[in-house]
């Protein structure tokens, strides 16, 4: 094992509090990513401080909305716009919200449709 990695599972209501704790402890936002797992979407928020790698994990239903952490970590806006566009994750209050235009792909997004309703896809200009 090259490094120990801790994963903390939480509910979406606890997200901002937990992220604030990491921020106040001086952790760097390393990445955010999501994984479509059948009827749930798993989101990992990763932080690093002096090579200690920690994850916050959130599991939500595709139709659930979560709060953006970009008010705490401004740089989260790129990750959150990506999740919103490619996976259809509903995220509220992103500080720089592209509203579906961060990825200028020729085909409609999201690529991983959270619901069978194709009407969620947005046509790119």
């Amino acid at each position: 094992m090259t490094e120990e990695q801790t994963t903390i599972t939480m509910e979406k209501d606890e997200l901002l509090g937990a992220v604030s704790d990491f921020h106040s402890q001086g952790y760097r936002l390393a990445q955010i990513c999501c994984t479509a797992l059948g009827d749930t979407i798993e989101i990992n928020y990763s932080f690093d401080k002096e090579y200690r790698f920690k994850n916050l994990r959130l599991s939500i239903r595709p139709d659930e909305e979560i709060q953006s952490i970009s008010i705490i970590y401004w740089s989260a806006f790129t990750y959150e716009n990506e999740m919103s566009e490619l996976f259809g994750v509903k995220i509220r209050n992103i500080v720089v919200d592209y509203k579906g235009h961060f990825y200028r792909t020729a085909v409609a997004t999201p690529f991983v449709a959270p619901e069978p309703d194709a009407g969620n896809a947005t046509e790119k200009e």
Binding site: T35, F53, S75
Partner: protein, 359 residues
């Protein structure tokens, strides 16, 4: 009050080898806001993992980028090896380290050339790329490829480097290193270069950390973070400290990369001296079941591979957070308040690799 204009920058632009678009909101000659957008060459490689055998996928991972291709393959292999608890032979770890550092040298030389081209120093650009050819020759001689090495596999590496060849590589790097030193002196000391880069695109250490910046961009702002300190591959057995500069401007980012070239030469020398004998791979059977975030210090900074597997031959999720993606927010901040004439230099000093970003 000056009139505000929006200047589209990219996706096709002379300083951009790859497509990214920026809407530059300007007042006169000053950038007020920069709004990036990507997706022009989105390839969907992350999704492809659901259809490829996890062992074959190394070939795809290597093709995410044409500059740090080996490190992409290595990071992927490392992730799967961690999940499957594979003990990779020590010699293979040293060989991975040597190829990774060769990749860093050629990437930084390529960047120095592109930077010289961006500020109009054509002869310096050509000299950097001439020197890079010497490194590519070593890579070709040891792997058979100049861009895609094809040397990494899950469980070790595909090719060995015999001791005599390794000795020759160290000697050749000594010769090329002296030549590189004469060229990089221009970047460090030339008045014209300093005039174009010093005091431009300044990012403080606090800002760099808060923006999640990685790699030379972070270290040029005084933050000593280098993912090689996580002790993957053979780095745990090599002596080095992260290269740090404090000014946080374009010239500091240039100085970090110059110093890292010589650090890489030193690391290859150390690896050659300490490399043990033995096998270069172990046979891998079965399928991974679990997850891991694999981190490697690429030339542009820390890359993170998230691999999630469910015990089948196809992975459940493969996600790449590239260093350029992590550095986009910092680039946006650096561009605010910059002169339009400095925009190309500022963008270049994060060493953007859009091919990686678009994975």
């Amino acid at each position: 009050m000056s009139q505000r204009n929006v200047i589209p920058f990219g996706p096709q632009h002379p300083v951009l080898p790859e497509p990214i678009h920026l809407d530059l909101v300007t007042e006169d000659e000053t950038v007020i806001e920069a709004i990036p957008s990507i997706g022009f060459v989105h390839r969907g490689l992350e999704k492809l993992v659901e259809k490829k055998d996890y062992q074959d996928f190394v070939y795809v991972a290597e093709r995410i980028c044409g500059i740090c291709s080996f490190m992409h393959g290595m990071t992927y292999c490392q992730a799967v090896e961690e999940i499957m608890e594979i003990a990779v032979p020590e010699r293979a770890l040293y060989l991975r380290t040597v190829w990774a550092e060769l990749s860093r040298i050629h990437s930084h030389l390529m960047w120095l050339g592109l930077a010289a081209d961006a500020f109009g120093f054509e002869s310096l650009f050509m000299n950097c790329w001439r020197l890079r050819e010497g490194i590519l020759d070593i890579i070709e001689a040891t792997t058979g490829g100049r861009v895609i090495f094809g040397s990494c596999k899950i469980g070790g590496v595909r090719r060995d480097i015999d001791d005599e060849t390794m000795k020759g590589i160290v000697e050749k790097l000594g010769t090329i290193g002296a030549e590189i030193g004469r060229t990089t002196d221009v970047f460090l000391n030339d008045y014209s270069v300093q005039h174009r880069l010093k005091g431009i695109g300044v990012l403080s250490g606090e800002e760099a950390h808060a923006l999640g910046t990685v790699g030379p961009v972070l270290r040029a702002s005084g933050v000593a973070m280098d993912a090689r300190k996580i002790d993957y591959a053979a780095y745990r057995n090599l002596k080095f400290e992260p290269v740090v500069e404090k000014a946080g401007d374009c010239h500091a980012r240039c100085r970090v990369r110059v110093r890292e070239i010589f650090q890489s030469v030193d690391l290859i020398g150390q690896a050659a001296r300490k490399m043990p004998g033995g096998e270069i791979f172990v046979k891998v059977t079965g399928a991974p079941n679990g997850e891991f975030f694999s981190r490697v210090e690429q030339p542009r900074g820390e890359v993170i591979y998230y691999v999630k597997a469910n015990g089948t031959k196809n992975l459940q999720r493969f996600r790449v957070r590239t260093p350029t993606f992590a550095n986009l927010p910092a680039m946006v901040k650096m561009l605010e308040g910059a002169s339009i004439a400095d925009v190309p230099n500022i963008i270049l000093t994060i060493d953007p690799c859009i091919s990686c970003v678009e994975r």
